[in-house]
Point group: C2
Chain length 114, copies 2
């Protein structure tokens, strides 16, 4: 029951290019496909596709301005994504901790027997 409906959000930010895209949009506040592609090692069209994906999951939104299309991040949705990231991280961390303490308990038991 660990992974559930957040799979689309995950796969959205799972792609490294899309993560960089979000980073750029956060850093500059806004950007179009062409301006963003200038800072990335991919073409404008690739960026466009990624922006479509990000738009579909609601991580960014676009506002047409004349002949260009400005994108900006949706803060609320990104916050949700961050929360899910942290939740998975926290869960694994908890398991690791539990395993570790269990191992130590066994170790102690062994020593006691000895």
């Amino acid at each position: 029951m660990t992974t559930s409906v957040d799979d689309d959000l995950w796969s959205a930010i799972g792609d490294p290019t899309r993560r960089r895209l979000v980073d750029l949009l956060l850093a500059e506040g806004q950007g179009t496909a062409t301006t963003l592609s200038a800072h990335l090692p991919v073409t404008r069209q690739a960026v466009t596709k990624h922006l479509v994906v990000l738009d579909r999951v609601g991580l960014v939104r676009s506002t047409p301005a004349g002949r260009e299309k400005r994108y900006h991040v949706d803060q609320a949705q990104l916050a949700r994504a961050v929360a899910q990231l942290n939740s998975v991280g926290a869960m694994w961390d908890a398991r690791l901790r539990r395993i570790k303490s269990l191992a130590e308990a066994i170790e102690r038991a062994k020593n006691a027997k000895k």
Copy 2:
């Protein structure tokens, strides 16, 4: 300078099936390709491929036991992965916070002018 060399780790845990795989291995402590595939909606071979990927980035390791091959999570490496998850989350969170406070500052300035 946000995303860097950790891309392989990210893409390793970016896949939902692989995340479930790690979950299962954490929950049961160990497992072979066949036993794991029993709990997943994919075939044994698919699981094998994922295990190869996870092994390549060091998130799991295998110990041959007779005719079967047992896999277990490498705790140290998973801890590293979790750390990277948290770090990206924290960075985005920080940016969001900064943007928010900036917006509020502008709002205050506007009101002052008024």
